[in-house]
């Protein structure tokens, strides 16, 4: 979703503008630029709201992940944010679905990133320098982690390991100590951790944070628009439950 991209807004608006006097002044030949003169070019019913995450195919539920990849991510995020006595973890919050939808979209393609070569490793202070998109990094890293786990001989894949062994592997990835065939273990762990946090706490419209469980865990009230009555109510617990962009479950008919 790129509401501010010229491509996604230009042509439709121009056609509509021609119906509204005085706003758009066509300039000879300047078809791909927008000329605004004489008024604020604001139109009702044009709001660029975020699209809800789409449903996946009935069989796997995933748009991007192959079956083995989905199993890996489900197992991994369940260790990063586990279900415990405090309640739902990342798996129950739908984080695998969130990550799947992200990887299937603009983010997974690295669409906004500068991806022209030449490529160099650089210093850590120069940041991300691999040519892999997030989707490619997940695909390659998961395959190579499962291969490495298999080689270790305790289980065929990461998902089949016991919780303690999964934690040991995650820690090795985090510290860059796991030797993968080609993927950078540390980069993959950082991306997986970041995406897990996103899926746990982003608005539910993107497929994670199911029933706002991430927000309820910490007491974040979500997409509320006006906190002004509570600014000076010091040291008092905020009285209202969280709200998502699409509202609260009880607000919809069904």
């Amino acid at each position: 979703m790129k509401p501010t991209d010229p491509e996604s807004r230009g042509p439709a608006l121009t056609r509509r503008r021609l119906l509204t006097a005085g706003v758009i002044v066509p300039v000879t030949g300047a078809a791909a630029a927008r000329v605004i003169q004489g008024d604020m070019p604001w139109q009702e019913s044009e709001a660029a709201a975020p699209p809800a995450a789409t449903h996946g195919p009935a069989q796997s539920g995933y748009l991007f992940f192959a079956a083995a990849e989905g199993v890996f991510v489900e197992a991994a995020v369940a260790r990063l944010i586990p279900k415990d006595d405090l309640g739902a973890g990342a798996l129950e919050a739908g984080v695998p679905t969130f990550i799947d939808r992200q990887l299937a979209g603009d983010y997974g393609r690295g669409q906004d990133w500068y991806m022209q070569g030449p490529w160099g490793e650089g210093e850590p202070t120069q940041g991300y320098q691999t040519r892999l998109t997030p989707a490619s990094l997940y695909r390659i890293a998961i395959r190579e982690i499962d291969d490495a786990v298999n080689k270790e001989g305790r289980a065929g894949t990461f998902a089949k390991l016991g919780a303690d062994d999964q934690d040991r592997w995650l820690k090795q990835l985090e510290e860059g100590k796991a030797q993968l065939a080609t993927a950078d273990a540390k980069s993959f762990f950082q991306m997986l951790m970041q995406n897990t946090l996103e899926g746990f706490w982003a608005d539910p419209i993107y497929g994670g944070n199911k029933d706002m469980v991430g927000w309820k865990l910490i007491g974040f009230p979500g997409a509320r628009y006006d906190h002004s009555p509570f600014v000076t109510k010091h040291n008092q617990r905020y009285p209202l439950p969280p709200v998502a962009i699409s509202g609260r479950p009880e607000w919809s008919k069904g």
Partner: protein
Amino acid sequence: MAQRLPPVDAVVIGFGWTGAIMAQELTDAGLNVLALERGAWRDTPTDFAPTFAQDELRYYFRHALFEKLAHETLTIRNNPGQTALPMRRLGSFLPGTNVGGAGVHWNGQTWRFLPSDFVARSHNLQRYGASALPADMTIQDWGVTYDELEPHYDRFEYLCGISGKAGNLNGAIQEGGNPFEGPRKREYPNPPMAMTLPPTLFAEAARSLGYHPFPQPSANMSRAYTNPLGVQLGPCTYCGFCEKFACGNYSKASAQTTILPVLMRKPNFTLRTESEVIKINLDSTGKRAVSVSYVDASGKEYEQPADLILLTAYILHNVRLLLVSGIGKPYDPVSGQGVIGKNYAYQITSSVNVFYDDKILNPFIGAGAHGMLVDEFNGDNFDHSGLGFIGGGFIGIVQTGARPIETHPVPDGTPHWGSAWKKAVAQNYLKSTSVATHGAVMSHRTNYLDLDPTYRDVYGRPLMRMTFDFTDNEHRMSDYLTDKAAEIARAMKPREIKVNKRKGSWDVVPYQTTHNTGGAIMGTDPATSAVNRYLQSWDVPNLFVFGASAFPQNPGYNPTGTVGALTYWAAEAIRTRYLKAPGPLA
């Protein structure tokens, strides 16, 4: 072959804060003004309506309001010995794009610099002697004084409806304001914002240590406001989605909420969006700009002639356009000669997390400039003798809103994930806050901007190359500020604190601040500055370069207040002098 368009009186390159102010000023003066913006039109009800503006993933982590690096980026390195590589993902700073620029997603922290900041070189030499300035520190005086800028600060503050408390009215120190600020002629247009508990606790602790806390000057409205142009802003709702977000409530000053409703209706103003200027064209003498070349979204090129050219893009784009247009002599860090790209600077930040057991802080309530601060350790407000650095910064709690993907602090020693981490996040989220420091960066011989020899943008032009690192001066200063911040944090009587000093080289990965400065600096000597004290190019007098690219070094405050003041200062010189007799103003 570029299509040549009919000439206009003035063309504005980039339509954010400075472009909108200059278009408003020059259309008022009767000129036909055309603004060229590379991005799209953008307004409140369409692009960040209150029904969906509070979306941390879309706006911050997926960068809906920021520059797309696939289209344009820059290369980065810490020193001239390294090979610069592209900034492939956004991190340390977040340049804007589209109408309103970064002024749409700013916090609204709106400062005046100290009178001594404008004479940083001569002031420090006079007070501390030549030995206080290291040989490679290239700080300069600005060529404009605080007193000259005072009326223009005032204009920008009243345009925006800044909420605050004066600390110095015509030389008389005011209780509750910042006693260190330069004298101002009148109060802020709006009273300070209401305060949540954390800034209140900070102020109490700071006062107990003998400091003088005051409310952050804020472009978030503390009440409904109608500005001098007749544009209305609504009271801030403290929703906590301000920094890195756009306001759905018309409560944060931006070009959209203060100028455009008036400017866009003027018959002598035209805006062309999806129109990216790729070059400023000079005549055969090289002393006069005759036109700009721009490209529309389909890649078609146009030549737009204009008498007066106003470069009003973000600082990084201002400097790059000068370099690719061959205007001014590029800076050479070896000889120290040349001016374009010289004295790039940034800011240095650190923080101290504060954890309570017994207080509910509701950190999600917030606004971009909602906080209490102390200025005892900014600029030259304290004696630097024997400290081994110059400059300083402010310290305080600015509660911008603890959006959970970004902000979920845990104490030292907590695992990074798993059940113990989850428990610590759940225990501490509502009971923690953070004291921040925000420090100056002095300019340095090897911190500069030039064109990259290897990497290209979508048009095949060289990317700009940024060579930058924090020097010993910045680290000593920031450590000093952080120690003071920790002392105040302890006086807040929490369960525990966690000190986060800024260590090592500048790193492009973690977000720090979008306060990039310099590269086309102002001054009084064409040998050492790119523009004169009216922001007019020394080399091409019908070209003016606006924004923080003019800062010779970066003081310890957020830049936008001074960017606004400099714009009005230059606008006045253009209106009262240049338009009557076009030519060099200095």
